[in-house]
Amino acid sequence: MTAYLQAENLDHHFGGLRALRECTFTIDQGRITCLVGPNGAGKTTIFNAITGFLKPDEGSVTFKGRKLDGLRPQAIVHAGIARTFQNLRLFTDLSALDNVMVGIGNQFGEEPVGAILRPLHTLHRQRRLRQEALATLDHVGLADRAHDTVRNLSYGEQKLLTVARVLATGAELLLLDEPASGLSAGALDAVMALLRRLQSEGKTLLVVEHNTRVVQQIADDVLFLHQGHLMAQGTPEAIISDPALAEIYFGGAL
C-alpha cells in the first residue's frame, strides 16, 4: 500500500552545510506526527522541501502516489498540502478575516477582468466566501476577532490565525511549524484542542514541536531528526524516554 506522504533520500547542501542527509520517512493518513529534534536539525528544511519552497539536491517526496518534485508552492497547496511558518508570516496590515480569505481557493474576482466586468457577481460571491471564512475563524476560536487587524491580535491569536489560513486552503495534510511555541498555558491548551479537533475531522498533521508536553499529549507518532537525518521513529513515550536521544536533544547539539 502506498504511503500517504513519503520522503525518500532527501539530501541538501547550503553552501558548506549539509542540511539534509539521506532523509527518509513516511507519514500515515489521519495521524498527528510530531517532528522533533535539536535546533538546526533540518525540520524547517524538510517543510520547505515538501512544500516546494526548496528543491532538494537529491531525493523526492511523494504524496498519495504522486511525485511532488519540481512543483511550485501554489501547486502543492492545490495537491492538498499546506504549511504554516515559524515566524508566522501573516499579512499584518490586513484583518484576520482578510488573512483567511486570501487562502480560500478558486475565488471569482482574483483577476482584474472579472472584477471590472462583473462587479455585482464578485460582490455576491465575496459575501458567501466571507461566511465561509468566518466559519473557519470560528473553528479556531477567533470569530470575534475577525475584523481586527493582525497587528492588534495577541501572539496566541496570531498563531491560531496561521492555522485558520491553512484550513482555508482546504488542504488535507497540514504542516504546522511550532504552532504551540511561545504561548501561555491557556492558549497552549486551546491550540492542542484545536489540533485534536482537526484530526477528528479527517486532517493529517505533521507538526514541528519543541515542547515535550505537547508532543506527549497530541502525537500519535514522533520523528526524531538530527543533523538532517531521521534518527528514530516511534511513539512519543518511546522517543521521549530514550536516553541517547535526550542526550542529543539537550546535551551536545547547539
Binding site: L90, F91, N99, V102, P112, A115, I116, P119, R165
Partner: protein, 288 residues
C-alpha cells in the same frame, strides 16, 4: 478660463497615468521607470491610427492602442519578475531608454525628434470633440471610468491579493496563490490605463514628440504617486493635480526658461527624497 480647462484636461489625463503607476508601483510594488514609455506607445499608436490612409475612428483606435500597451506590459514584466525584483529595475530602465531611442530615431513611424503634428481631434459617434470644454467632458468621463475600474479592482479579491503580495509574497504562495500571475495582471491593467491616457493626450495636444515620454516623464509619474500617496484613489487624483500646477507656480517665481525644465526635474527629485524620508505614505495614501 480656457487655461483652467486645459489644466484640468491634462490633470485628468495624468490621473489615468496616476492610476496606472499606482497599480504598478504602489500596489504591486514593482519599481517602474518605464510608465512614460508605455504612455508614449499609446499616444503614437492612436495618432497613427487616426492619421492613417484608412483612418480608424477614435474609440477603436483607443481600444487597439490599449490592447497593445497591455501586451507590452505583460511582455516586459513576465520574464523579469520571474527572476528577481532588481532585474525588473534594469528591464524598466532598458525599456524606457529603448522606447526613447525608437521615438527619436524611427522618423518614418514617429516623426523622430521633430514629433508628429496634425493629430486630428476625436470623432466619437459623429460628435467632434474640438473645444477645450468638450475635451474636459471627455476626459472627465474617461478618468471617472478609470477611477471606477480602480475602485472595483481594489475592492475585489484581486485587490486583497495584491495587498497581501506586497506584504509577503512567500506567504501568499504558501496560501496557494499564483503571485506572478497577479503581478503580471496588475501590470497589464496598468498598461491599459497608460495606453488610453496616451490616446487622449495625443488628440488633445494634436502634436506629440519624444520629450513627453522620456525618463524625466517617468520620474514625474513616480513623483505623482509618491506625493499623492500610494494605493489610494485619492492619491491618484491629488498627485497629478498638484504636480501639474507646479509649473504654473514656478512661472510666478520668474525662473528663466533655459533652466525651467531642469528646475522642475530638480524639484521632483527633491520631492522624491523628502517624501521617502519623511512621509512615505504621501499626502493621502498608504505607506509605500
Amino acid at each position: 478660463m480656457d487655461f483652467l480647462y486645459s489644466y484640468i484636461v491634462l490633470a485628468e489625463i495624468y490621473v489615468l497615468l496616476g492610476l496606472s503607476t499606482n497599480l504598478l508601483v504602489g500596489i504591486a510594488g514593482i519599481f517602474s521607470v518605464s510608465q512614460a514609455a508605455v504612455f508614449g506607445v499609446g499616444a503614437y499608436l492612436v495618432a497613427h491610427f487616426l492619421m492613417a490612409q484608412d483612418a480608424l475612428p477614435f474609440i477603436p483606435s483607443l481600444a487597439i492602442a490599449a490592447a497593445c500597451c497591455v501586451a507590452l506590459n505583460i511582455l516586459v514584466t513576465l520574464p523579469s519578475l520571474r527572476v528577481s525584483g532588481d532585474y525588473f529595475v534594469v528591464t524598466s530602465f532598458g525599456i524606457q531608454l529603448l522606447a526613447t531611442a525608437v521615438f527619436t530615431n524611427w522618423t518614418g513611424g514617429t516623426g523622430g525628434a521633430n514629433g508628429l503634428p496634425g493629430i486630428p481631434p476625436p470623432d466619437i459617434f459623429g460628435l467632434q470633440v474640438e473645444s477645450t470644454q468638450q475635451y474636459m467632458m471627455l476626459c472627465t468621463i474617461a478618468s471617472a471610468l478609470g477611477c471606477l475600474c480602480f475602485y472595483l479592482v481594489m475592492r475585489a479579491p484581486f485587490g486583497r491579493l495584491l495587498r497581501a503580495i506586497r506584504e509577503d509574497e512567500l506567504a501568499v504562495a504558501a496560501a496557494g496563490k499564483n503571485v506572478l500571475r497577479a503581478k503580471v495582471s496588475a501590470a497589464a491593467l496598468a498598461g491599459a490605463f497608460a495606453g488610453i491616457a496616451g490616446g487622449l493626450y495625443a488628440t488633445f495636444l494634436s502634436f506629440i514628440d519624444p520629450s513627453s515620454f522620456d525618463l524625466d516623464a517617468s520620474i514625474l509619474l513616480l513623483t505623482m504617486v509618491v506625493v499623492g500617496g500610494a494605493r489610494t484613489l485619492a492619491g491618484c487624483i491629488i498627485g497629478p493635480f498638484l504636480l501639474l500646477a507646479l509649473p504654473q507656480i514656478l512661472t510666478l517665481i520668474e525662473i528663466p526658461t533655459t533652466i525651467a525644465a531642469s528646475a522642475r526635474q530638480l524639484i521632483y527629485g527633491v520631492l522624491l527624497i523628502v517624501f521617502m524620508l519623511f512621509r512615505p505614505q504621501g499626502l493621502a495614501g498608504e505607506r509605500l
